[in-house]
Symmetry: C2
Subunit: 473 residues, 2 copies
């Protein structure tokens, strides 16, 4: 290892080094779940968190009047069994995303007024509907053949992983509106453009989350419910019974057959443990100095799973006035940078909140401008959807996840072409005493809260087996 | 910046901090060139290097008998004017890559003996030759329309950047052998698969280096000449007159309007300067803690320019015996993991050295196996090309660049689909007092020594202008 360098130790010689059984890196949902399951098996675990808060890619914002909105991930839905079980276990309730009334759709730049739709497809020209229907059926058929644990073993994996989702759309979808509609679907699940993701990853992801309607749906879909008190509460509650060290970014991990020594910036500076669970996205694991280096496929993986780009905005009104017009607050544009809107008002409807996403290229383009200009872009778009009443907002907050050093982007890491088929096995494969959690490593509901929980539970089980711990989980 | 964390200072308060005019990160060809040009303009510069050697992605290996081989980048060729000028300036000579006699080609798995070819194309079936010729002409025509400074402004940039090189090959090349041949070309210039790179990047790269024949050629091409004493000598010589600090990996950079403070692991621990030049590949710049964070497009760029994967091997014989059979030592296989071989014997021919590349997927697959098994794979392949005499080697050395923490892979970083068109402007754009060099930022001969020199010279000029230094370079 000619490249390894000994860091200056932050603590002098002769200090007693802190010891624990397992160190978990990252106090998001996945890391905290891993630590919780280990603790429930009687296994001591310490969670090291870079930020001065828990929750990772979830973050509550509380307005002066007490209204809570979710600035990061926020929804749960049917078949997300592990996160729903965890919410039950912790005693956190959910409430339905507001979904009554019609949605709005802008499909063409030339369209002066949005169309009222439901199910996001009605009122399109028949040839567009047929085009979309055929494309979705084909994607479903393809997705079902992708094994969730080993996507690279799909019969047509080489072909699908050799192209972008965009390439498939261009070849297989004939009408412009249907193509734009499918592009918006890709952008809204990955917060990247269809050009930026492997077709195989899109198919895997659809299969992992239960196909399009479930991924994209509100009622009976992945956007069905919100968590009482805001989604960050899940992590905050879990952290109450876990030894979490905030403001302790991990800089280096020494590891060998006998254990791991984790060097961090928090108090004490280092911890010795028998095993380690990293609950970071693959990209961020590449920014830790592993000694010895992880090398080869694992190192390459950290370079090839970039994070999505999203700015989440909340525009606040004195009431959810669109509901009186029998509008759901859900609005979609195939042609504008602010392309997806939801009613994100509190459950008591004491305020009206419109959640508007800026995703993919739009997030990259609008990220550098000042906040007041971005608010103006969002407000104009809400006006385009909902009329002039949208101009009379009383507050605005936003979160640009691309600026977050300890996430590197949201919602999650994605596979670019060639990655699943060349580096897929490195995603979950432990390296000695190092184990990998995080929603990016999940087979089911990859990229969602549920995937984060499943990945944390899987990693905890791996560690328990390795350390010979009897689990009662 | 809720995510920023104050590191524990390695030196106590009250220390005098070292100061210089410019800090350069990385003592490869690009960083050393930048420092050299600055010094020649009378501007003090300190180069911080993570490794305990200079040269970056160049590395000499000297056998016991004094024979030197290049374990990293090694060639220079016509039109690489800036690196040729630098070699002249430093007084380093070149010598021609051995190129007499016939090359060998294995085009199909079923082929029992390699075909003798010259120019790499003869003796193929007419339909393959026509297919290849048409494809290359089309690629040339497309490549010429890609502006080197701003590839994203090409008229068809969106279309080309939305697909992989593999997608284009599948749609536009009809014969299997021609497709495999073009795939090998992609792999041999990018050390990745055609699935792993944007078509727009392939076109940019061809244009940047002067089109296929120049990129791939030996005589009159990018592989024409080698550097006397090994290619690392270029960096070693430059470093003789530059203040280079080895074993000083940079961990954090504080930067604002007044200057930069660079925190590193070497003696002193930190240096204050008026400007900084990073000569690292974009991926590695993402592993430094920038304070404040670079955010947005620059941060995203660091996640989206993965490094190539290559293991370079040298098999040594008592003499270059293949020359007696009128073989050049150059051999190519479209179907084997060891796919490209060159005669890399020393200029006095006192030894025979066959350089065999393991690139892309093959490097990822063969990296994890023990060295003696990998040597066996290489030896069998040389036997397949050159006959049983290839079994009687006297030595073997190899370098797996995927294992190198301070490179992260070789030859260089590549653009995956969607990156040029969304993040291209962030590649060279200075951020305050931070400037970006490295061959990945070059317009001409991007990815080569010449690009590294050009990028270093450009960054030095930028800094000189910013600091108001009169340049005599």
């Amino acid at each position: 290892m000619p490249d390894s360098v000994t860091l200056v130790s932050l603590s002098g010689y002769g200090d007693t080094m802190e010891e624990t059984r397992v160190v978990v890196i990252g106090a998001g949902i996945s890391g905290l779940t891993a630590a919780r399951r280990l603790a429930q098996s009687g296994c001591e675990a310490v969670v090291l968190e870079a930020r001065d808060r828990v929750g990772g890619r979830t973050l509550n914002h509380t307005f002066e009047d007490g209204t809570v909105v979710e600035m990061g991930g926020q929804w749960v839905g049917p078949t997300q069994d592990r996160v729903l079980a965890l919410l039950d276990e912790i005693g956190l309730g959910t409430f339905p995303t507001y979904n009554d009334g019609m949605d709005l759709l802008v499909a063409r730049s030339s369209q002066t007024r949005p169309k009222k739709v439901k199910g996001q497809r009605m009122m399109m020209a028949p040839q567009v509907l047929i085009d979309l229907g055929v494309a979705q059926q084909r994607l479903h058929r393809m997705a079902r053949t992708v094994p969730l644990m080993e996507p690279w073993t799909a019969a047509r994996a080489a072909e699908w992983d050799g192209q972008t989702a965009e390439s498939w759309l261009r070849r297989n979808v004939r009408t412009r509106v249907a193509r734009d509609f499918l592009r918006l679907m890709v952008t809204s699940v990955f917060s990247c453009e269809a050009t930026d993701v492997s077709l195989l990853h899109l198919l895997f992801y659809c299969h992992s989350g239960g196909l399009w309607d479930r991924l994209l749906g509100t009622a009976n879909g992945a956007q069905q419910d919100r968590i009482m008190g805001g989604s960050q509460s899940l992590s905050i509650r879990m952290a109450e019974t876990i030894d979490v060290r905030l403001a302790s970014p991990v800089r280096r991990v020494d590891h060998d057959d006998t254990g791991v020594t984790v060097h961090h910036d928090g108090a004490g500076g280092k911890i010795r443990a028998q095993a380690l669970v990293s609950a970071l996205p693959p990209m961020l694991t590449g920014r830790i100095g592993w000694n010895p280096g992880l090398g080869g496929q694992r190192e390459q993986l950290t370079q090839n799973v970039p994070m999505g780009a999203v700015i989440k905005t909340m525009t606040v009104y004195d009431e959810p006035w669109w509901r009186a017009d029998e509008l759901s607050g859900q609005a979609f544009s195939l042609v504008d940078p602010v392309s997806v809107v939801f009613d994100n008002s509190p459950p008591d409807s004491s305020r009206g909140v419109l959640l508007a996403f800026i995703e993919g290229r739009a997030a990259r383009d609008l990220g550098p401008i000042p906040m007041h200009e971005r608010r103006e872009v969002v407000t104009r778009q809400l006006q385009r959807f909902f009329g002039d009443r949208a101009l009379r907002s009383i507050d605005y907050v936003e979160q640009d996840w691309c600026q977050e050093e300890w996430s590197g982007g949201c919602y999650s890491g994605r596979m670019t072409p060639g990655v699943w088929t060349q580096l897929g096995p490195a995603l979950r494969q432990p390296i000695g005493r190092l184990h990998w959690a995080g929603t990016e490593t999940a087979d089911v509901w990859n990229g969602y809260f549920d995937g984060a929980v499943r990945a944390g539970e899987r990693a905890a089980t791996e560690v328990a087996v390795m350390l010979g711990i009897e689990s009662d989980a």
